[in-house]
C-alpha cells in the first residue's frame, strides 16, 4: 500500500496508445481493452513513474484550468481505480 508519495506508473504487460486525445489500453495479461476519456488519458500519460500524484494534479490543473483540489481528487480517484485494476502501480 502506498503512502501516496510514490510515483504511479503502468504495470508491465500494458500496451497503450493515445489516439485523437483518448488512450486505448490493451491489458495483454487479461486480454482486456479499455478506452479512457480525454482527462483520464492525460492523467495516464502523466503517470509514467516520474511524477507524484500531486505533481500530476498540478499539471492537470494547469492544462484543464481547474482548481488544485478538484484536480487532486480526480487524480487520486483515477490512480486508485487503475491500481485496483492492476493497470498502474506505485513506483
Amino acid at each position: 500500500m502506498s503512502d501516496r508519495t510514490g510515483r504511479p506508473r503502468p504495470v508491465q504487460g500494458i500496451a497503450a496508445r493515445e489516439i485523437g486525445g483518448e488512450a486505448v489500453l490493451i491489458d495483454t495479461r487479461e486480454n482486456v481493452v479499455r478506452l479512457l476519456n480525454h482527462s483520464a488519458s492525460r492523467i495516464w500519460a502523466l503517470a509514467n513513474g516520474e511524477r507524484t500524484e500531486r505533481e500530476i494534479a498540478a499539471q492537470l490543473a494547469l492544462e484543464f484550468e481547474v482548481g488544485a483540489q478538484e484536480a487532486e481528487g480526480s487524480v487520486r480517484r483515477f490512480v486508485d481505480e487503475m491500481v485496483a485494476k492492476k493497470l498502474l502501480e506505485w513506483g
Binding site: 500496451a15 496508445r17 489516439i19 490493451i26 486480454n31
Partner: protein, 273 residues
C-alpha cells in the same frame, strides 16, 4: 515431403508438406504461389495419435506459441520464423495450416508496416473494395451471401488491410469459412484493390451508419478477433498500425438487417464504391 511457397500480405511462407497434401494445397492456393525466398517455414506432418476431443489450449513462452485444438497441434517460433504443425488426420491439415498462417499474419503484418489481418469479408465492386468485419455471429457470412451476384467476394473469413503511402488497399487471403461452398472458393484469385471503407457489423432493427472517431474506430477494430494482444510488443505494434489505418480510411459502425436493401442503403449513404 514437398515444399510450396505462398505469399500472404507480402510475407512469403514455405509450406513443407506430404506429397499428397502438397498437390491438394497447390491447387487451392494457386493464385498465392510465390517464387520469392521464403521468410517463414511451416512443417506439417500427420500424427494419428493426437487426441481429437481434448480441451483446447494456447500457451505463449517468449517468442514461441504452442496450441492444441481438436486434433490439431502447433508450435510457432517467431524468433526462428518456423512453425511445426501436426494433425490427427489429413482432413485437419488445411485447418491447422491456415490457423498458423493467420496467426503469423496477425503477428507479423503490424510489425512490418501499416497492415492488419481482419476477421472480415472483403468485397470488390467497380474495382474498389469494402471490408465488413466483426466477431463471429456478427453477420459476415450473411453479407457474403447477400453480395453474391452483385460483387466479388475476395474472402468471407479473413482479409488484409494495408496502407501504402496515401492509399489503403484490401488484400485477399485464401482463408474461407469452413461452411463456404467449394465452388465459391474456387472462383476467387489473389487480389489487391483500393479500399473505400471499413464497416463494423452490428445486427439492428434498421439500417444505420455512423462514422467513428479514430479512437472509437480502433476500439471497433479490436473486436475483429484477429488482434495480436498476447505480447505487449505485439499489442503496441497492432495499436500503431490500427491508428494509422483509422486515420487514412473511414471506419463506420453499420447497423444492418439481413436483406439486399443493405446495398441500396450504402449507395444512398454514398459509401458504396
Amino acid at each position: 515431403m514437398r515444399a510450396l511457397t505462398i505469399e500472404l500480405g507480402g510475407i512469403p511462407v514455405a509450406l513443407h508438406l506430404p506429397s499428397l497434401l502438397a498437390g491438394r494445397l497447390r491447387a487451392r492456393y494457386r493464385s498465392y504461389l510465390s517464387d520469392r525466398p521464403a521468410e517463414w517455414g511451416i512443417h506439417y506432418r500427420q500424427q494419428p495419435a493426437l487426441p481429437r476431443a481434448a480441451p483446447a489450449w494456447i500457451r505463449h513462452e517468449e517468442a514461441v506459441t504452442h496450441f492444441y485444438l481438436k486434433g490439431q497441434r502447433g508450435r510457432l517460433d517467431f524468433s526462428q520464423r518456423e512453425a511445426r504443425l501436426a494433425s490427427s488426420d489429413l482432413n485437419l491439415a488445411r485447418p491447422v495450416i491456415e490457423r498458423a498462417l493467420a496467426y503469423i499474419c496477425m503477428q507479423e503484418l503490424p510489425r512490418r508496416g501499416d497492415a492488419l489481418l481482419l476477421h472480415g469479408v472483403g468485397l470488390v465492386d467497380n474495382g474498389r473494395g469494402m471490408v465488413f468485419f466483426g466477431a463471429s455471429g456478427r453477420g459476415k457470412s450473411t453479407v457474403a451471401r447477400l453480395a453474391r451476384g452483385r460483387a466479388t467476394v475476395l474472402s468471407d473469413e479473413n482479409v488484409i488491410v494495408r496502407r501504402q503511402g496515401d492509399e489503403v488497399t484490401l488484400v485477399s487471403t485464401p482463408f474461407w469459412g469452413l461452411s463456404t461452398p467449394a465452388t465459391e472458393v474456387r472462383q476467387v484469385h489473389a487480389a489487391e484493390v483500393p479500399l473505400v471503407g471499413l464497416f463494423s457489423l452490428h445486427h439492428a432493427s434498421c439500417f444505420t451508419l455512423e462514422r467513428l472517431a479514430p479512437a472509437a474506430a480502433v476500439m471497433e477494430l479490436l473486436t475483429s478477433e484477429k488482434v495480436a494482444t498476447e505480447r505487449p510488443s505485439s499489442a503496441a505494434a497492432w495499436l500503431a498500425a490500427a491508428e494509422r489505418l483509422a486515420a487514412a480510411l473511414p471506419l463506420y459502425r453499420l447497423g444492418f438487417q439481413p436483406t439486399t436493401e443493405l446495398w441500396r442503403f450504402l449507395r444512398e449513404e454514398q459509401v458504396y464504391p
